[in-house]
């Protein structure tokens, strides 16, 4: 054998061994001393481990050769995946939906207007009691409302502006919020109106860039966060410890949503890299990903059955992805809608998709037929956030016009 060829064979063998070890170390946690996998937690990412890995991989071959081959292999696999996905695409959702009746006219009006924020409303969340709402705004204020009576029940001033994320705890006894401070803090809500809530504040999550979304995971004790630093993370509220981190997005992560299943351990996230990813909370792995949007994904929300999810993006479309078919199954768009969708949510049966847009309107879509059912005017600036109430009786929209509206 030629000496050059020999050299190549040896290099390839070495690389194979190196790569296999890399795989083992990355995926088998019991082989390494840290609890979670290798790159899962930036705080526990010991330099020494990384050194060993890099040494193994780089030693195996010429860096430039391998990188090129790897990249081509990656691209080939990606194309193959698209082909496989397309093979099972025997019919369109709206074609199958032709047999069901079209929806009639809906009368949806603003039933309540919540005024009190001094600047753009950025985020809102419902309490499980179906009537309370927490909302956060650009001026640093976080307000808890009884939306039914429109009374403000609590107000907290955060030390930073642009509070982009807020969430209500399942028990109704606490709220979490964060934004430009790169943190997620939990405030227990006290019944005593005079008590200063800020004093009992608890800092839970720490990211290296702004906090874009946060959500309690069916319990007051854990919070899931997403951040402009490109990662999501699961935290233990009491200790502030990071339980799991999720890496895979190539740019800011803007939104996330927990799967509604009783047994599920998954959530979906969307980011500025136009990708939406489904994650396993236990292992920290991305189990499915979709990349069909043409711009940032601002909002993701699961379909009520948990088998699909919708995403709203700056490319002015909302799209439905089914997890069993493993592909995009519907696009909700119109020639006259040119502004991005900032926030989406489903009605209880999943038949309606509500989208809040940057053109100050809310478009209501028939999920199955793909047509627009209604357009709602009322806000005087961008609609930045939209959530359907826990029992589906109404939905609330928050806007840059400083107000929140309840529609039913």
């Amino acid at each position: 054998m030629e000496p050059q060829l020999q050299g190549q064979v040896i290099r390839q063998l070495f690389f194979l061994i190196g790569a296999t070890s890399v795989n083992s170390i990355l995926l088998r946690k019991d082989l390494c001393s840290c609890r979670k996998g290798m790159l899962s937690s930036p705080h526990q990412n010991t330099p020494r481990h990384r050194e060993i890995l890099c040494f193994l991989v780089e030693m195996a071959a010429q860096p430039s050769d391998t990188l090129a081959t790897l990249k081509t292999e990656s691209e080939t696999l990606k194309t193959k995946l698209e082909e496989e996905r397309a093979k099972l695409h025997d019919v369109e959702l709206h074609q199958v939906a032709e047999k069901i009746e079209a929806l009639g006219q809906f009368v949806m009006k603003t039933r309540r207007a919540l005024k009190g924020h001094g600047n753009k409303v950025l985020c809102l969340d419902w309490c499980k009691d179906k009537r309370r709402i927490v909302s956060s705004s650009q001026d640093g204020k976080v307000i808890v409302w009884d939306a039914f009576t429109t009374n403000k029940e609590h107000a907290v001033t955060m030390p930073c502006t642009w509070v982009m994320a807020c969430a209500y705890a399942p028990s109704g006894c606490a709220v979490a919020c964060g934004g430009l401070d790169n943190k997620c803090s939990v405030y227990p809500l006290s019944l005593d109106k005079n008590e200063n809530l800020a004093a009992k504040k608890k800092s839970v999550a720490m990211h290296t860039n702004y906090l874009s979304a946060c959500c309690f995971t069916n319990s007051d004790m854990q919070i899931l966060t997403s951040s402009g630093d490109g990662t999501c993370a699961l935290w233990d509220v009491e200790s502030g410890q990071m339980l799991q981190s999720f890496h895979g997005h190539a740019a800011d992560v803007l939104c996330l949503d927990l799967a509604p299943s009783e047994t599920g351990n998954t959530f979906v996230s969307g980011g500025c890299d136009k990708k939406s990813c489904v994650w396993d909370m236990r292992t920290g792995q991305c189990v499915q990903s979709f990349e069909t949007h043409e711009s940032d994904i601002n909002s993701v929300r699961y379909y009520p059955s948990g088998d699909a999810f919708a995403s709203g993006s700056d490319d002015a479309t909302c799209r439905l992805y089914d997890l069993r078919a493993d592909r995009e199954v519907a696009i909700y768009s119109k020639e006259s809608i040119i502004f991005g969708a900032s926030s989406v949510d489903f009605s209880l049966s999943g038949r309606l998709l509500f989208g809040g847009y940057n053109d100050y309107t809310i478009n209501v879509w028939d999920v199955l037929k793909g047509t627009r059912v209604s357009i709602l005017f009322g806000h005087e600036n961008r609609v930045s956030t939209l959530r359907v109430s826990p029992d589906g009786t109404a939905f609330c929209s928050g806007s840059w016009d400083h107000t929140l509206r309840i529609w039913a």
């Binding site: 991989v57 790897l70 959702l93 009537r131």
Partner: protein, 466 residues
């Protein structure tokens, strides 16, 4: 149409554009179509009292064009989109500072591409001061400063007190240049300049469309593209975007590629369903739940948000489960687990069958996953002792593989120590106990009991009507 050279096109076209640019491009496409000679809006010069109004079109022209060419059925929607385009500065009413579209004879004019928002304008206050100053030098009644402009001018004079002489000189120079222009051309340019400032310094109470979402601002602030000076004054030094510190050094690319390959491989191996099956499933789910969706079926007795009556919430909170709620438990196992009353009924049923330990184990493990991390080791031990240890009081039956795995996991207790066992028990309950529960007399009675009560008036008709 001249495009300023500062707006370079990236080689990928759409791919690298910031979200705002995407919208500007779409609006500019519409404007291009509106300005098309054949199919666009007719632009004309209108003769008015003693003078001509050059290059205008009416509000209703725009609305009609939009309805015809953009597939918009509703006039309100066309007005709304038109107002947004005006608010962004692509066309403007010639005699009003407020940028909105009216469906009548009001005259509008197109903005010159130089002033388009896609040029990343961020004009300075010094420029605004020069502009306002220049306006005061023009002795035309119609060019008088509006109240809010006069206030702004006063404010700026105070702020730039030291620079004022320089600003005044600039304003004079600009005014001189303007005077030299042709009268008609000047009319057009003046109005376009005014519209530019209406976008960047809007009338109080109007939306400032140049406001940006801070999450996206880092990609919009492209220092080499941003234009800050309208009248040639000194540019300020660029400052860092508040939301983005310089990106950390790119991670080892070879490692990343290997991970990517792993990811694609896992996805390739996953089992996929045919689209037709998936579509049927989505349709049947919606159909099943439509009677529970308040947007389709009014809740009993009414939707609290519409009627201001909270009875339906009170009914929901009570331990009494209405027929509709009971019926829902029959849809799938998860519905029983989700509803606290459903869980209670299921537990009672299991107790009657002496297999309640399964559900109790499942609930205990769910609870375990929600505890603070500090409590996890002790809870794991408790659950083990109660359900799985040899001689446990509520022993459950798991397959040997899960049992072995769990025994291993116990040694290093984490929140997912019982994951395999829990999944096994779930499947068992779902396939076995749940189906018996739904067929059980207890459940059927609950389903029927409410039905009986809902049945109204006993059916006998008094027929002797003469």
């Amino acid at each position: 149409m001249a495009q300023p050279s500062s707006c370079a096109q990236s080689s990928n076209g759409v791919a690298d554009e910031s979200p705002n640019m995407l919208v500007y491009r779409k609006m500019e496409d519409i404007i291009a179509r509106m300005q098309d000679e054949k199919n666009g809006i007719p632009i004309r010069t209108v003769k008015s009292f003693l003078s001509k109004i050059p290059s205008v079109f009416s509000g209703s022209d725009i609305v009609q064009w939009m309805q015809k060419n953009l597939n918009i059925e509703d006039q309100v929607e066309a007005l709304h989109l038109g107002t947004l385009m005006a608010a962004h500065g692509y066309f403007f009413p010639i005699s009003d500072h407020v940028l909105m579209l009216k469906d009548d004879g009001t005259f509008y004019r197109f903005q010159t591409p130089y002033f388009w928002p896609s040029n990343c304008w961020e004009p300075e206050n010094t420029d605004y001061a020069v502009y306002l100053c220049k306006r005061t030098m023009q002795n035309k009644a119609r060019l008088e400063l509006a109240d809010y402009e006069a206030e702004s001018l006063a404010r700026l004079q105070r702020a730039f007190a030291r620079k004022w002489e320089f600003i005044f000189m600039q304003a004079e120079a600009q005014a001189k240049v303007d005077k030299k222009r042709d009268k008609i051309e000047r009319k057009i340019l003046d109005s376009q300049e005014r519209a530019f400032w209406d976008v960047h310094r809007p009338v109080p109470g109007c939306v400032n469309t140049t406001e940006a979402d801070i999450k996206k601002s880092s990609r919009m602030k492209q220092p080499h593209k941003t234009r800050k000076s309208v009248y040639g004054l000194q540019n300020d030094i660029r400052s860092h975007s508040p939301t983005h510190t310089p990106a950390p050094d790119a991670k080892e690319p070879v490692l990343l590629s290997s991970l990517q390959i792993q990811h694609w491989q896992t996805q390739l191996d996953r089992h996929r369903l045919k689209m037709s099956k998936v579509a049927e499933s989505l349709l049947s789910f919606s159909e099943q739940y439509i009677e529970y969706d308040p947007f389709f079926t009014t809740p009993e007795p009414s939707n609290p948000w519409i009627s201001d009556d909270v009875t339906s919430w009170e009914l929901e909170a009570s331990k009494e489960a209405g027929q509709q709620r009971v019926k829902r438990w029959g849809f799938c196992f998860d519905e029983v687990l989700k509803d606290p009353v459903g869980r209670e009924q299921f537990l009672r049923f299991l107790e009657s069958e002496f297999s309640s330990e399964n559900l109790r184990f499942w609930l205990a493990v769910q609870e375990l996953k929600k505890r603070p991390i500090r409590e996890v080791p002790s809870r794991v031990q408790e659950i083990w002792d109660e359900f799985l240890a040899p001689g446990a009081p509520s022993a459950i039956n798991v397959d040997s593989r899960s049992y072995d795995k769990t025994t291993q996991n116990i040694k290093d207790p984490g929140r997912y120590a019982f994951q395999d066992a829990q999944e096994h028990i779930y499947k068992l309950m779902k396939s076995d106990s749940y189906s018996r529960f739904i067929r059980s007399s207890a459940y059927q009675e609950m389903l029927q009991a409410k039905k009986k009560r809902n049945k109204n008036i006993p059916f006998f008709v008094i027929k002797n009507m003469k």
